[in-house]
Amino acid sequence: MQLGFLVDLHLCMGCKGCEIACKVENEVPLSTWRLRVKYVDVGSFPETRRTFTPLRCNHCENAPCEKICPVSALHYLENGIVNIDKERCIGCAGCVMACPYGAIYIDPQTQTADKCTYCAHRIASSMMPACVVACPVQANIFGDLDDPTSNISKYIQHNQGNVQVRKPEKGTNPHHYYVGGGNVTLNPLASHRVDGHQLFNKITTLPVGGHH
């Protein structure tokens, strides 16, 4: 079994329901996020559009975070999920530095690394991840990539030629796919990030782990 995720960006409307569901399900502390939806505005008036990109851990086949972790706190589960053992983590932040997707953070309460686990605890009870359940337009598709009859496999087959991963050049082989993505949505270098100028939030950066 190889669990994977696919987000159809044609469907996502940026409601952030997944973001909130994740926060609640996993009790993610203030100032940190396991899953977030990034808005990027493209074009010049009147030819403009807004894109929405949910960003979470990519559960890479060749995960840099797993390799760099000195104590195996980050480890693979049999179903392909890259999981984290917070009890074992020493908080060296090597994983935060290694992840090319910025998906790992230091939990300010426990001072250990944390990230999306595809809701491994829910999967163990045969439930879908919280973000999948919360999505009102079924933009999040989750399932077994090894099973050709699973929804995610069928979706990938149906959208051949339009399935992307983030930063494929890194050689991490993500198990998280996007349909309808492009340079602007998937490449952070392809958009301006103006300090302090956002719709509802003027904070651009926060201290790692609440101190340092």
Binding site: R36, K38, C89, G94, V184, L206
Partner: protein, 301 residues
């Protein structure tokens, strides 16, 4: 932020996102790398001096070992201070993950500390120079991977394109030679004759030159290879936030010491050599800090 061609075409702007994490590895890690360079560098230099100038270097066996012990402990202390869970450090020894450069480095550094204490015992308690020199060979061999493992660690940071193993490992070795020779020039005092100090000056000057060439190579040619490297190097170009610190570091660590070493050789001045050593040690911290911080300024997602 680097201006990419794509921006002009799409005018893409992030209009809503969460706050991104700030600097993950702060100045504590700079001190870690700086102190380790000195800790292993003085051992390399003691080995060199004992072969090239055995008479003059004989009395430096114990003082050099003590200096190495002090700086390796500064390195270990700051490594520990940088952990968010320092009291779980022991997990590295009981749950080791051998694909991690952090684990391998921690094990090697521990063995290195053990050998340093053995050297101190042999020189101070047993006063056995033959046994010291024999052990020193093994300590020097171990000092090489201890110096290099941080380069491995930086290279394992897939997210940070700037840090590539070949250049980082060369930089680590040159930093150890630079800081080791500088520290020995200062430590030598009246015990080292001028000829021995001249040898150290040559090592200092050459390692400064090689480091400078490497940094300039990355500065000029790095952006031609990868978009991320180009974006990161924008932070030290033009009116970038780290431009001043970068060039200050290059001048203080490399260019001025090189000039001063030439000057000290022509004027046979030990004081000028000492000034070069002090500048190299101070500048190395700046250079290391800039190179540590700038890849962390780039948004990863």
């Amino acid at each position: 932020m680097a201006a990419h061609e794509i921006l002009a075409a799409t005018n893409a702007v992030v209009t809503l996102d969460v706050a991104l994490p700030g600097i993950v590895w702060p100045w504590l890690v700079t001190v870690n790398m700086w102190a380790k360079s000195i800790g292993t560098g003085v051992i390399f230099m003691l080995f060199l001096l004992l072969r090239k100038h055995p008479e003059a270097a004989g009395s430096l066996r114990f003082p050099t070992t003590v200096v190495s012990i002090i700086f390796i402990h500064i390195f270990l202390l700051f490594t520990l201070a940088d952990l968010h869970q320092p009291f779980k450090m022991w997990h590295i020894f009981f749950y080791p993950h051998l694909t991690s450069a952090i684990t391998v480095g921690a094990w090697m550094a521990t063995a290195f500390v053990g050998l340093l204490f053995l050297l101190a015992f042999l020189s101070f308690i047993k006063k056995d120079n033959a046994a010291f020199d024999k052990t020193l060979t093994w300590v020097v061999i171990l000092a090489i991977p201890v110096t290099l493992y941080t380069a491995g660690l930086m290279s394992q940071c897939t997210a940070r394109e700037l840090w590539q193993m070949p250049t980082e490992s060369a930089q680590m070795i040159f930093a150890a030679l630079l800081s080791g020779s500088a520290a020995m020039i200062l430590l030598g005092g009246s015990k080292l004759d001028y000829e021995a100090k001249k040898t150290l000056g040559v090592v200092l000057g050459l390692s400064a030159m090689m480091s400078f060439i490497l940094y300039m190579s990355e500065y000029v040619f790095g952006p031609m290879k990868a978009e991320e490297v180009a974006a990161v190097l924008e932070y030290i170009k033009g009116d970038g936030p780290y431009t001043v610190m970068f060039w200050l570091g290059q001048w203080i660590a490399y260019l001025l010491p090189m000039l001063l070493i030439v000057l000290s050789r022509t004027s046979k001045s030990e004081n000028i050599l000492k000034l070069a050593a002090i500048l190299a040690l101070a500048g190395l911290w700046l250079v290391k800090h800039v190179w540590l911080i700038i890849p962390q300024l780039l948004p990863m997602s």
